[in-house]
Amino acid sequence: MRDYVLILSHSTLESVDAQRGLSLAIDLALQGEEVTLYLVQNGVFASEDWLRPALASGVRVLADEFSLQERGISRRPVNVQASPLDFVLDRLEAGAQVIWH
């Protein structure tokens, strides 16, 4: 089982990359991989409805604290934790496959 971190930096309104990243995360999780979606920049606008399939597939979803603060977002979707950007560096150090969308 490999450790994947998919960084989503776009909202669904600005790029199809967001949906592609979500689909990839779900596919990997269904294959038994350990997957984290890390929302950064406008990716933190992701809605609970949009994230639900990923969460149901076992994907962990984190949102960059700084990006949330920049955008004045105080309420996050259920089961989405705020995280310092250190998480990404921690995973790089640990050898995870980190992919930026």
Binding site: S9, D17, Q41, F66, L89, L92, E93, W100
Partner: protein
Amino acid sequence: MKSRRTLTFVLMDAPYESARTTTAMRLLNLAALRGHEINVFAYEGAVYLTGRQQTQHPNPVHANNDTEENHPLPKEWVQALLNCAEANGGTLDWANCGLCVDERGASETIEGVRRGTPADLLDFLNRSDNALVIPTR
């Protein structure tokens, strides 16, 4: 204390064009604070990040002189990263892709960064424990 890693970051975005540059700088800063051996391969518009001739300017709309305006300059961010890496026992090898430098006339850079080639990117990746490519749109 975490053990030292060799990490490569690949950047493409020109200064001021995208929030990706800000996030990249945040990651590089974290890596520098942790004392890692950091490689940066900057290509396409990212070769402008280290431009030596970036300067402050006044803003007449805000009635600010250049000091008051204090516009952020990416070259200062990169210099701060170089200093931070050294201060924390790590290294930062910043290479601007020479092909992209030539195409853009971006050869005048701050001290401490260098002109590279795609072969440097391959070397970085071969020597790294991990790598992150931050793509442009």
